[in-house]
């Protein structure tokens, strides 16, 4: 059976599974009385949370990022994992005690201000849409490859499917669907990784394979370092950015995670706070399975790619792959436009090297190379192309496609629902037209959803970076605006409305401006104020990492403003105290 048919079958079968489970669980819940003691086991709930958490960025982009950025990309791993822990331990329990399940709602009530709520809503909408851009990009890559159409068409197809999926409710909240998605996703991710690890190192566990050695006795990472430096690329294991930048980027990712609505909600769907913590722990385990596999997948994919193109000695006349003999996967990805070759020296062979490295460029010229001929290698294709590069069976390749779509769709749908609900409920019903009918509210949410998809789709085609970096931007924005407001709302009872609003605006605007400065206003190419290079960055801080700085500015501005304006009302201060005191303590007294 050819790959395309097989992909259709596997993707179709997994979707049929999700929908089937959704129907089954919906149909079986209409009894008059619950059977006592029903509830979702924390392990199951942990899997569901993990499926929510892992998006196209985790599934598709992270390994690609690691493949090309090497060691530096570990910030994404650390940042997101750390952020998750922060959310589970520091934020969710308090929000829950406050009885609010969206961040804008908490901020609006805590700072007794519709204005503060509006700012929070806007921050979240911006952050969420940016996050959706990443998902659209991932969906576009997957569809482009498997429908064998250009990437842009793939994005359009993805937009349509995401809209339908989200309007159908995304099957969100149905725990067993989420579990199924997790299983598909993790299976799709680890199976190829195991095959490749076996091929390269003889060790079936990718995580161990990464640290192990290859058949010829050379350590895998050493081999990779050698291969890439031979072609003028920076060593795979080297640290490229400044330590400050890496630290801030990690921090931004961590605190930026805090406000993302689709994950927070998961903590409120279990009856007890304790259960929520246990499932958060399990979720961490399930997330770790993918996150720890990602570095191995990234490194091995890079090695395989290099080996495929650089078939022999660097500089030898027959050391490079002949274009006409390129493998099938190469041709397939060419049709998407995400992989492009240009025969600059006319020798019919592919030279893939770092022509930005002047030292190596001179050496390359002596080989008769006239520049890097792989004019486009989109990093997001790595995970999807990996099994093909490693010549794995077709069903593995099809499975990866299904996994990628599951990851992208579930996250995108969750976010789009949160966005549309924020716009229709918080903004339109809450502020603009309180008397609006439910029908119009629903219509508004659908329009908001369509609008968000259109924006995300457009920006997915004209991305300000690759998927994971786009997402990093979203986190940066959330980090600079929402996280400080949440922290101050929970832990500083003197923080008042004025402080919170000024703080949020300060954090958001400085971060946004910093990002636009280097990436173009609203990401329109050509509108950058300065080249996006480390020399131009403020103290060497990249736009992705600036969120942490924005958060700091937010804290400072909020504290100053709250000191010079009136303290919050008495009942709010009491409320803040109550949140931090266990409820049972007060209730036990009158026993």
């Amino acid at each position: 059976m050819d790959l395309q048919t097989l992909t259709y079958i596997v993707v179709g079968a997994t979707f049929a599974l999700y929908i089937g489970i959704a129907f089954w669980s919906r149909a079986s819940s209409t009894g008059e009385f619950y059977v006592a003691g029903t509830g979702v086991h924390p392990i199951a709930n942990g899997m569901a949370t993990a499926a929510d958490w892992m998006s196209a960025a985790s599934f598709i982009s992270m390994a690609g990022l690691i493949a090309f950025l090497g060691y530096d990309a570990s910030v994404y791993l650390m940042g997101w994992t750390g952020g998750y822990v922060l959310l589970a331990l520091l934020l969710a329990p308090y929000l829950r005690k406050f009885g609010k399940f969206t961040v804008p709602e908490f901020i609006g009530d805590r700072f007794y201000s519709k204005g503060a709520r509006l700012v929070a809503v806007i921050c979240l909408i911006v952050a969420s849409i940016t996050y959706v851009i990443g998902q659209m990009k991932g969906v576009g890559v997957a569809f482009g490859r498997f429908l064998e159409v250009p990437f842009e068409i793939g994005v359009l197809v993805g937009m349509g499917i995401v809209f339908i999926y989200a309007v159908m409710g995304g099957m969100k909240g149905i725990t067993y669907t989420q579990i199924a998605q997790y299983c598909v996703l993790i299976f799709a991710y680890t199976v190829p990784a195991i095959f490749i690890a076996l091929n390269l190192t003889g060790n079936p566990i990718p995580q161990l394979g990464l640290g192990g050695s290859m058949a010829d006795g050379v350590a895998l990472l050493d081999k990779l370092d050698m291969v890439v430096t031979d072609l003028g690329f920076a060593a795979y294991t080297a640290q490229k950015g400044t330590t400050l930048n890496i630290f801030l980027l990690t921090l931004s990712l961590m605190i930026g995670t805090a406000g993302l609505p689709h994950v927070i909600v998961r903590f409120f769907t279990v009856p007890k706070v304790a259960d929520a913590r246990i499932s958060a722990g399990w979720a961490l385990v399930f997330i770790a399975i993918l996150y720890t596999t990602a570095p191995a997948v990234g490194a091995m994919a890079r090695l395989n790619l290099m080996d495929t193109i650089q078939t022999g000695e660097v500089g030898a006349a027959d050391g490079n792959l002949i274009y006409e003999e390129r493998p099938e996967w190469f041709k397939n990805w060419e049709t998407t436009g995400l992989l492009a070759f240009e025969d600059k020296n006319g020798d019919g062979r592919i030279q893939y090297y770092n022509d930005k490295n002047e030292e190596f460029a001179a050496k390359a010229a002596s080989f008769g190379w006239k520049g890097n001929e792989m004019v486009k290698v989109d990093r997001d294709i790595m995970v999807l192309a990996n099994p093909e590069i490693a010549k794995l069976p077709n069903w593995v390749i099809a499975l990866v496609a299904a996994g990628g779509l599951a990851a992208a769709l579930s996250t995108a749908a969750g976010l789009l629902l949160a966005i549309s609900s924020a716009i229709s409920h918080d903004v339109i019903k809450g502020m603009i037209a309180p008397g609006i009918s439910e029908k119009k509210e629903l219509l508004a949410s659908r329009l908001a959803m369509a609008g968000a998809i259109a924006v995300a789709g457009y920006l997915g085609m004209n991305p300000p970076g690759f998927a994971a970096q786009v997402v990093a931007l979203a986190f940066g924005l959330a980090a600079s605006s929402i996280f400080p407001a949440l922290m101050m709302g929970i832990f500083n009872k003197k923080m008042n409305r004025e402080g919170a609003i000024v703080g949020m605006l300060t954090g958001l605007s400085t971060t946004l401006i910093y990002i636009f400065w280097f990436k173009g206003w609203f990401f329109f190419p050509g509108t950058e104020m300065a080249a996006n290079t480390p020399d131009n960055w403020f103290m060497g801080i990249s736009p992705e990492a600036f969120g942490a700085v924005g958060a700091l500015l937010n804290f400072i501005a909020a504290t100053i403003v709250s000191k010079i304006t009136a303290a919050p009302p008495e009942h709010i201060q009491h409320l803040v105290e109550d949140i931090r005191v266990p409820k049972g303590a007060a209730a036990a007294v009158d026993h």
Partner: protein, 607 residues
């Protein structure tokens, strides 16, 4: 057979035409024109024409210019003439509430009728007093208490002596006087008071009447309806109530007056319940329930009214059982309240219903007190079961020791449900949020309700759990808007109108009530209050109310039919039994519910 006998026979049943002789009826009938109006169609606007309309079949609602509901008219009732609504004459629009067959009499015909028949003319005249007297003569069913007052109030100043009061009462030939102070009603003194508080204890009749009167008596507003007044009197067991308007007494109304005005009234049963002295007698009375229910449905009483009446009968049984058991057990050792939940609390009971109740105690009970309340609950719950209110399958009954606890414990129950919303407790709490005191200390219930409502209002995470629970009851509409019928594996049972129609609506409305902190339990009242509080859009409120009425009407009609055929009433209605139009209406009603559920899902992000 006479050419017009069909018309005259019917007219003869419709007041005030029943006072006319056959010749007069014929001359009226000759001028009638019959017209048919489908549901929802505007029949008439009083500003355009002043003819008379007789409802031959169907029901009509009268709306004011802002399309607010004024009154409803059903078969053999009239409209079209100038009508007084709550003491005010208004222009109104008549709209077919059901498909209607209306007989019209032109303005000229109507004027001629009034001229030729002074009594009829008087009946339709807008003057209050003549209307009342005409009403008694033609025994038209009156709607307002003011219409029942036969004489003005007999007033006496609070400084007057008991002797003066007694003389006034005998000279006016009344059994009670209203005691006034500074133009305000401060008390009521009755024959019984004079007997028990004066003669029996040898009180000096020169003392002030204020010393023996009943202070601050309960009053009725002049524009209250007869049903409302009856309910109040039955519930509180009063025989006389002063009627006031703007604080000024207009007269006195007695339970007899009220009952006489309504020759056949379900609340007579309530009165009978009060008179019975043993469980066996009550069981005997309860056999009247099915036929009573059937009659209420067939009389075309509206759904809200039926719910309230059936519930008040249940309440009366409950109270009577408590009184009976207390005669045996003696006074309760502490204050308590008998609280009911679910449909009884919402005053939305229908034919078949189970009991949901509990006891709220003032404080934690000691061993002896525990036994007292255990005995009390056992008697009442068992009694209710014998009366046909079967045990609650979820054991939400005072019989269950868990639901027979102190106010503080009840609050902790709510705390636990709200803080740790397990699926079972969410389901529980949806029943418990509909709460009403039936007997005992009302303030205990009020306090609990206040507490629970506030906690639910402040906690959106809990409400999200409730929303998820609400969304588990979906209307029986599948893909392509087709009906989904329940089946028990062997055969299709029809549409489950209760669980998939009425429950979703009451649930949706409860959500709205909790969002806006409304403490009322009745669904119609909740809709109104939530709309006032701005939590509900007016058109959404109307949609849900209409859907609830429609689904309930279909269900009630079906149940009445089943009872008539000697079957047990169920909530399953096979769609084939409905007319095409009804099916379409039902579908539309279900779609309204689906829409409201979708909006709820959006609001709480539950899918």
């Amino acid at each position: 057979m006479h050419d017009l006998s069909l018309a005259t026979e019917f007219l003869h049943t419709a007041p005030p035409f029943n006072t006319l002789d056959v010749d007069e009826l014929q001359s009226v009938a000759r001028k009638l024109e019959a017209a048919y109006y489908p549901q929802g169609k505007t029949i008439f606007s009083s500003s355009e024409s002043a003819g008379l309309a007789v409802i031959r079949k169907g029901a009509v609602r009268l709306l004011d210019e802002q399309r607010r509901f004024l009154d409803k008219r059903s078969e053999a009732e009239l409209f079209g003439h100038r009508i007084w609504f709550h003491g005010e004459q208004k222009n109104y629009v008549a709209e077919a509430e059901e498909d209607c067959l209306i007989w019209h009499l032109s303005e000229a015909g109507f004027n001629e009728l009034c001229e030729r028949n002074p009594l009829i003319g008087e009946y339709f005249s807008s003057h209050l007093k003549t209307r009342v007297s005409a009403a008694t003569q033609v025994s038209h069913s009156v709607t307002q208490i003011r219409d029942l007052l036969r004489r003005g109030p007999v007033l006496i100043d609070s400084t007057a002596s008991i002797r003066q009061a007694a003389r006034l009462m005998s000279s006016e030939n009344v059994s009670s006087v209203l005691v006034m102070q500074d133009q305000a009603l401060v008390g009521i003194a009755t024959d019984k008071d004079l007997r028990q508080r004066v003669l029996a204890v040898d009180l000096d009749p020169a003392k002030s009447i204020a010393s023996v009167m009943t202070e601050k008596p309960m009053t009725l507003a002049a524009n209250s309806g007869v049903d409302e007044a009856l309910l109040l009197m039955m519930r509180e067991n009063y025989h006389h109530l002063p009627v006031v308007e703007d604080g000024e007494p207009l007269g006195l109304v007695t339970a007899g007056d009220l009952l006489r005005s309504q020759s056949e009234h379900p609340l007579r049963l309530v009165r009978d319940i009060h008179k019975k002295q043993s469980l066996d007698q009550l069981v005997h009375l309860s056999r009247r329930l099915p036929s009573l229910f059937e009659r209420m449905v067939n009389l075309g009483r509206d759904v809200e009214q039926i719910g309230r009446m059936v519930t008040h009968i249940t309440d009366a049984f409950t109270v009577k059982l408590i009184q009976l058991v207390q005669q045996e057990l003696g006074e309760a050792p502490m204050k308590f309240a008998w609280v009911v939940f679910g449909s009884q609390a919402r005053e939305e009971q229908t034919a078949r219903t189970d009991q949901d109740n509990g006891l709220i105690l003032e404080r934690k009970a000691d061993e002896e007190e525990v036994t007292y309340f255990a005995k009390l609950s056992e008697f009442v719950c068992d009694g209710l079961d014998q009366l046909g209110y079967v045990y609650c399958p979820g054991e939400i009954m005072a019989l269950n020791v868990k639901w027979r606890v102190s106010l503080a414990k009840w609050k902790r129950h709510f705390d636990q449900w709200i803080d740790e919303p397990e699926p079972k407790s969410v389901m529980h709490s949806s029943i418990f949020f509909d709460m009403r005191c039936v007997h005992g200390e009302k303030h205990l219930v009020d306090e609990l309700l206040e507490y629970a409502t506030k906690r639910a209002k402040d906690n959106r995470i809990f409400r999200r759990f409730m929303a998820a629970n609400v969304l588990s009851h979906r209307p029986p509409i599948g893909f392509f808007r087709r009906f989904v019928q329940e089946d028990d594996g062997t055969q299709s049972e029809g549409l489950n109108l209760k669980h998939r129609g009425i429950v979703p609506i009451t649930d949706l409305v409860r959500m709205r009530a909790l969002e806006s902190g409304v403490k009322e339990a009745n669904t119609f009242s909740r809709i109104e209050l939530a709309t006032q509080a701005g939590a509900m859009n007016e058109s959404d409120a109307n949609s849900l109310r209409d859907a609830l009425i429609l689904i309930n009407q279909i269900r009630l009609a079906h149940q009445a039919e089943q009872m008539k055929n000697g079957q047990k009433p169920t909530n399953f209605v096979p769609p084939e039994e409905l007319s095409h139009l009804m099916r379409r209406n039902l579908k539309a009603a279900f779609m309204l519910v689906v829409e409201a559920q979708n909006a709820l899902a959006l609001r709480y992000q539950v899918h």
